[in-house]
């Protein structure tokens, strides 16, 4: 059963169309990766799904009856509990906030004003599973990029019960932490949380996801990962196409492949 149905979605910034006519659907328990070059509108699409940006055309239907569309209000009522890890990020440099304060803020649901024992437990277990429990009293802004990313993921975990939206979760992380992050997300998916992830890392996308959406202003591909692997698009994206920003002459993957 599909949990999100996206129909003929078009989104623009200041009259410039960024995403046009994108349709796809996500079923409960899916692991969808959105891939595409820089500036192809992945973040814009995700922000539209989240109701942060109004689409010009088309609509997004959620299985709980919510919709994001031109007519509806951008801030609507979620029944699904969703988590969100924004793209690395426009947060302010000098914001005074401890790790604990930030992670706890993920547990605020629609009714509560104060944190009860239950919320605190949830925050602590999220921090524990990401290995940041020992830095919970530190100031967020003094942490390294990888630590900050894990704090924001912990906050997203506190908010999520059904769907987790991740915008380039591994950007700027070292390989070891990246691997941990992927394993972590995989575990979440295995316990039934639907994952929607934007990634530059096509190899990881192919390894972990079960559906791929390839964006390039309009939709180039949507289907299962197995089907995607057979397309030319995938081959091109992995290698040799000079106008794909990430696969130029300096690209490690491309070098490796051309040597083989």
């Amino acid at each position: 059963m599909s949990i999100i149905d996206c129909k003929h979605l078009s989104v623009s910034y200041e009259g410039r169309t960024i995403v046009s006519d994108v349709s796809f659907s996500i079923s409960a328990g899916d692991y969808l990766c959105i891939v595409g070059e820089n500036g192809s509108g992945k973040t814009t699409l995700m922000r539209t799904l989240l109701g942060l940006k109004k689409p010009d055309k088309g609509e997004v239907l959620f299985s709980d009856g919510c919709s994001v569309g031109k007519a509806s209000d951008a801030s609507h009522k979620w029944v699904h509990k969703i988590g969100y890890l924004p793209q690395k990020s426009n947060l302010q440099k000098d914001f005074p906030a401890s790790v604990m304060e930030i992670v706890l803020s993920g547990t605020l649901n629609d009714n509560g004003l104060f944190y009860t024992k239950k919320e605190k437990k949830k925050a602590i277990s999220a921090m524990e599973s990401l290995g940041i429990l020992d830095i919970r009293k530190r100031s967020f802004m003094e942490l390294s990029g990888g630590q900050q990313q894990r704090v924001l993921l912990a906050r997203a975990l506190c908010a999520t019960e059904d769907i987790l939206f991740l915008d380039e979760p591994v950007a700027g992380l070292d390989p070891k932490v990246t691997q941990d992050m992927y394993e972590m997300i995989k575990t979440l998916n295995e316990i039934g949380i639907t994952i929607v992830m934007i990634s530059h890392d096509i190899e990881a996308a192919l390894e972990y996801s079960n559906h791929i959406l390839h964006l390039n202003k309009d939709m180039d591909f949507f289907g299962t990962t197995e089907e995607y692997k057979k397309t030319e698009l995938c081959e091109h994206y992995l290698c040799h196409i000079p106008d794909h920003l990430h696969h130029d002459d300096d690209c490690e993957i491309c070098k490796e492949r051309s040597h083989v």
């Binding site: 969100y84 906030a97 304060e101």
Partner: protein, 275 residues
């Protein structure tokens, strides 16, 4: 010194100004943390000028000052918030336009009608005499409401201030928080303006938060410390203003500047010690 304090407390208007000022300082500084962090400081400044314009008009036409200016400033707050969210219009330029515009209109109306009298002078630079019995009780009630609302919504205000997108995306009722902040700010500015002066009231909002952020690194500590700094600076300020016969508003702002410098230095020393 105790003699001077006893002397001050024997004047009912000074006691009123003191109590009112303390409550105003607490509410202004609590809101200030959010405003500074959301880069809304300029909105506070813009609103105080709008407030001046509104008060000037009310005085010229002999209308009740608070009843006229609170709604006008609240509407201006919503407008400025909208402008700030709209990426196409340069937010800061729009604020400058509105605030200088309101100031100019206010001054024009005043000079065409009553002329620059003592009321107008007081609106610009503040006066301890401004707090009569009615406005005293209004201020007390409103400040207490603001402080209670702040504590009720503390966690949500933090969430929206830290990361508005995340909060909007994951929580249904986040939209109201920005409006709440704008509304409370507008009310505080109008109330505080008569004591502190239209030109100085935004200092009461901005300075304590900025000082606290030099030293403290968690939101809770910054909030608590802002409230404490703000009250201490106000009390010291009003005491100095009485002994030196200087205007309250300016004196309180100067004590806040001194507090900022002290916290700035403490912050620098801390950073040097840590690594």
């Amino acid at each position: 010194m105790f003699r001077i304090i006893a002397e001050m407390l024997s004047y009912p208007f000074l006691v009123r100004a003191l109590i009112c000022g303390i409550l105003l300082s607490v509410s202004a500084s609590l809101l200030g943390v959010s405003l500074v962090l959301k880069r809304y400081s300029m909105i506070g400044d813009g609103l105080s000028h709008v407030g001046f314009g509104a008060l000037a008009i009310a005085t010229a036409f002999h209308w009740a000052p608070l009843a006229v200016s609170i709604p006008i400033v609240v509407i201006a707050a919503f407008l400025l918030l909208r402008l700030n969210e709209n990426t196409r219009i340069k937010g800061d330029a729009a604020i400058a336009l509105i605030s200088t515009g309101a100031l100019a209109i206010g001054i024009l109306i005043v000079s065409l009608t009553t002329g620059v009298n003592i009321d107008i002078y007081n609106y610009m630079f503040g006066s301890v005499l401004a707090i009569d019995k009615t406005s005293f009780w209004i201020s007390i009630v409103v400040c207490i409401v603001i402080i209670v609302l702040f504590f009720l919504f503390y966690n949500r205000i933090f969430a929206v201030t830290f990361d508005e997108d995340f909060t909007k995306a994951t929580q249904a009722k986040s939209g109201g928080i920005n409006l709440l902040i704008a509304l409370l700010t507008a009310v505080i500015i109008v109330l505080g303006m008569r004591l502190m002066g239209a030109l100085l009231i935004s200092a009461l909002i901005i300075f304590p938060a900025l000082s606290s952020m030099r030293v403290f690194k968690s939101y809770k500590r910054v909030t608590i410390s802002s409230a404490i700094i703000s009250v201490i600076c106000f009390v010291v300020g009003i005491f100095c203003s009485y002994t030196l016969s200087t205007p309250v508003g300016a004196t309180v702002v100067v004590t806040n500047i001194i507090a900022f410098l002290i916290f700035f230095i403490i912050g620098k020393i801390r950073i040097r010690k840590e690594p």
